[in-house]
């Protein structure tokens, strides 16, 4: 590609934003055509809906967007008015509120005709979708991927998941009237692999010193990894993203503005209502995020169906504490982190409940300082800017001292 062509190319981040928006537009168009549209869990095997040509939208994604645009409090309070506890996951509260109100100016999406649920991300997902299925009197398809204590997923689990995977196709065919095609399935799997590999490759550029990207960008790009990784557009956009990073490394540029003094792992879901408040102190202290577990989360790689079942069982929230710790240690080691910031996410018990142990292993193994802060993925009432600033400041001081000592 000539330098001129590259300069004319729409930047990957814009493409990715358009792809995410288009995914929602596709769903609206389908709904308006009278087709059935579903709400889908973020880690549900997206190959199923994609193969059948069925439009789905992602409530977690919607909740994140609503929270990022300032609607989190309103929606959470609406859910609490319906009788839901403020202890519950804020994504679920926002979504249950949305199923009730059917409008959210921050991000509207079609109401569901069916639900696609997978609990590899958490069991709260099941309860959340149960309630929507019941309230709206619509069918729910559940692929249960049991939590495992073992490091590897055994054959019994693969067998159990595969039966449900196959059944999900049949159930969705019945619900939507769309037909399965082996050829299309192979195509979708191939494209999904291309996307996943490209996503992983792009994220791997964080290894470089300095990193050609502001790690916080990954949180935004992730939306496409969730809602469109079975599409050729996503594959191409991620490949372009990787190419842009490659070029940035050659040029010595970065989307992180300023000197990258320190490299960190940012652990946990983003604090969507406080993206600026959580990124600014990092910038002010010359800290760049060069590692998150999100890369692996959506890098769903497989060569055959059994591997696909396993891949969906290795998402971050479905693995043992040993594997969870190794995921962070590996990316932390690979990307040469100086420290870690851990978001104790009030909304997510499954994630937060093993974090103290994971944090200990991270510190012990990589010999790095870590700090935690209290926040929430979507409920703005939990985060304290003062606490966050203090903790980032403290981490920066320790990392600086460590660097001095190492000289």
């Amino acid at each position: 590609m000539t330098e001129q062509n590259q300069a004319e190319r729409v930047p990957a981040k814009i493409l990715l934003r358009e792809i995410a928006a288009n995914a929602y537009q596709k769903a609206w168009d389908a709904k308006n055509r009278g087709e059935k549209v579903g709400w889908c869990a973020s880690n549900f095997p997206q190959e199923i809906a994609e193969t059948l040509g069925v439009a789905v939208v992602y409530p977690e994604n919607q909740a994140a967007a609503i929270a990022a645009k300032g609607g989190g409090l309103r929606m959470c309070e609406h859910a609490e008015g319906m009788g839901y506890s403020n202890d519950m996951c804020a994504y679920s509260r926002i979504s249950l509120a949305y199923a009730d109100t059917t409008v959210a100016e921050e991000m509207d999406m079609p109401q569901p005709d069916f639900l696609l649920c997978c609990n590899n991300i958490c069991n709260c997902m099941i309860k959340w979708y149960e309630n929507i299925a019941h309230d709206l009197n619509i069918p729910m398809i559940l692929i249960d991927i049991p939590y495992k204590n073992d490091y590897e997923t055994d054959d019994d689990t693969v067998e159990y998941v595969k039966v449900q995977f196959d059944q999900a196709f049949k159930d969705l065919e019945k619900i939507t009237g769309k037909k399965f095609s082996e050829e299309r399935f192979k195509e979708v799997c191939a494209v999904s692999q291309r996307s996943a590999k490209a996503w992983l490759k792009a994220a791997e550029y964080c290894q470089y010193e300095p990193s050609p990207l502001n790690g916080f960008d990954l949180f935004n790009h992730m939306a496409v990894a969730v809602c469109a990784r079975g599409t050729i557009e996503a594959a191409e956009a991620f490949e372009q993203l990787a190419e842009e990073f490659e070029q940035a490394v050659k040029d010595g540029t970065s989307t992180y503005k300023g000197e990258q003094k320190f490299r960190i792992l940012f652990e946990g879901i983003a604090c969507w209502p406080y993206l600026r408040a959580t990124s600014t102190p990092l910038k002010e202290n010359g800290i760049n995020v060069v590692a998150t577990v999100y890369a692996t989360a959506f890098g769903v790689i497989y060569n055959n169906t059994a591997e696909m079942m396993r891949a969906y069982s290795y998402v971050p929230n479905c693995v043992s504490v040993e594997r969870a710790a190794d995921m962070r240690i590996d990316v932390g080691r690979q990307n040469k982190i100086d420290g870690a910031v851990i978001h104790t996410n009030r909304s997510c018990k499954l994630w937060s409940g093993i974090m103290p142990e994971v944090e200990r292993r991270l510190r012990d193994e990589l010999k790095i300082p870590t700090v935690t802060f209290d926040g929430d993925q979507a409920d703005p009432r939990v985060f304290s800017e003062a606490q966050y600033n203090t903790r980032i400041q403290a981490l920066a001081e320790v990392m600086a001292a460590n660097k001095e000592a190492a000289k």
């Binding site: 319906m82 009788g83 839901y84 506890s85 202890d87 519950m88 996951c89 679920s92 609990n119 958490c122 069991n123 709260c124 099941i126 309860k127 959340w128 149960e130 309630n131 299925a133 019941h134 309230d135 729910m140 559940l142 692929i143 249960d144 049991p146 939590y147 495992k148 204590n149 019994d156 689990t157 067998e159 159990y160 039966v163 449900q164 059944q167 043992s320 504490v321 104790t344 009030r346 018990k349 499954l350 937060s352 409940g353 093993i354 974090m355 103290p356 142990e357």
Partner: protein, 375 residues
């Protein structure tokens, strides 16, 4: 009457001091396996020649558990881990910990990381429990658990032994169901605290022995005439409702628990293990047959109609939703159940409980008001 109270007192003592039971078993040379919420295959423990011992947390302060759990996790998990970390459960040979909710998943992992001297065996229930693949999956899980338990006890689990255990446990379940009916008929003889103690003590005793004692209690009650109850008949639902302070408030307000839909109580005995030539499959089918539990996949929210029907059947005039603090599954269910209760004309009150709670004043006020509503 004194004979009844004596028998009740025995079980009250067991329920209040389970540690003594644990000591006694170990002193007898028995191995004891801790069984954490919500469902464990206790029959397999028995068939392996060991004693299943219910661990549902305790009313205590936590300190070491804070190294593992942030504050917003239920007390059942936190205090259970605390007991493990502090050495209080050192006499257990292993613990069985299910993955039925997100907190339990973390509890298992934290136990494995922190309580190195008590082996942790996961119990992995399929949520798609009714499909054949789910039954097969669970059956295989149970076989794995049997192999582990057999290694610990040195006594291999035979199918014959397991069938016998299933028979014993089903007999026990039948006795407990009858007790629940009797307690509903004789609230003047059996207080809420005593009702809970009779049920809870079963988790710390040999099931045959417990069934025998409870049968005697039932027989004693039946000797007495059924008297009309001047107080309020209620159904209690939730994960756990065993706090003595709470149960005393219920008694003070003349609430009679005529039925429960509580995980620690009737959810343990309302569904028998069906007969099957393969005992592992039979145990898996029991889980497949269970309905209306907050930690088992329930897309039709059958729990709501189960509660309404149960309340009506036993003449309950209201429902007490005992919300375990930080329990997500119960929090998700609450509005659905409230709506169903409202539709059925059943007043419902939500009372938050926590094993670390020191003051029940808020619960007292709410329950006093509820009593007024029902009056």
């Amino acid at each position: 009457m004194s004979s009844l109270n004596e028998k009740l007192a025995v079980l009250e003592s067991v329920a209040a001091k389970p540690a003594q039971q644990l000591e006694a078993f170990v002193a007898q040379g028995k191995k004891v396996i801790g069984c954490l919420p919500v469902y464990c295959p206790e029959e397999i423990v028995q068939a392996a020649g060991m004693v299943p011992f219910a661990i549902w947390g305790a009313e205590m302060e936590i300190s070491s558990a804070k190294q593992y759990f942030p504050p917003f996790f239920c007390s059942i998990a936190q205090t259970s881990l605390e007991m493990g970390l502090s050495g209080r459960l050192d006499k257990l040979s292993a613990v069985l910990i299910p993955v039925l909710c997100d907190t339990l998943k973390c509890l298992g992992q934290n136990w494995k990381a922190g309580v190195k001297n008590i082996p942790f065996i996961p119990v992995i229930h399929p949520q798609n429990r009714k499909i054949e693949a789910g039954v097969v999956f669970l059956s295989k899980q149970y076989q794995k658990i049997a192999a582990e338990l057999g290694k610990i006890s040195g006594q291999e689990v035979t199918e014959a032994a397991l069938q016998k255990a299933i028979e014993d446990f089903n007999k026990h379940r039948a006795v407990m169901r009858e007790f629940s009916e009797i307690a509903a008929q004789y609230p003047d003889l059996i207080s809420p605290l005593q009702r809970n103690a009779v049920i809870k003590s079963g988790g710390f005793m040999d099931k045959n022995e417990h069934a025998k004692l409870v049968s005697e209690i039932i027989a004693e009650c039946k000797k007495q005439p059924v008297k009309p109850w001047s107080g309020h008949k209620v159904l209690v639902t939730g994960i756990i409702a065993d706090s003595p302070a709470l149960l005393k408030i219920l008694a003070d307000n003349k609430f009679a628990i005529v039925a429960d839909e509580v995980a620690q109580e009737s959810r343990q005995f309302r569904t028998d293990v069906p007969h099957d030539a393969d005992p592992y499959r039979a145990l898996a089918l029991q889980i497949a047959n269970m309905e209306g539990c907050s930690v088992l996949y329930d897309p039709e929210k059958k729990r709501a109609s189960l509660i309404v029907d149960l309340a009506k059947k036993h003449g309950a005039k209201g429902v007490i939703y005992v919300q375990t603090k930080f329990c997500d599954p119960e929090e998700f269910d609450y509005p659905v159940i409230k709506k169903a209760a409202d539709k059925a004309g059943l007043p419902l009150v939500n009372i938050e409980v926590d094993q670390q709670m020191r003051s029940y004043e808020q619960a007292r006020t709410a329950l006093q008001t509820f009593a007024d509503v029902l009056a």
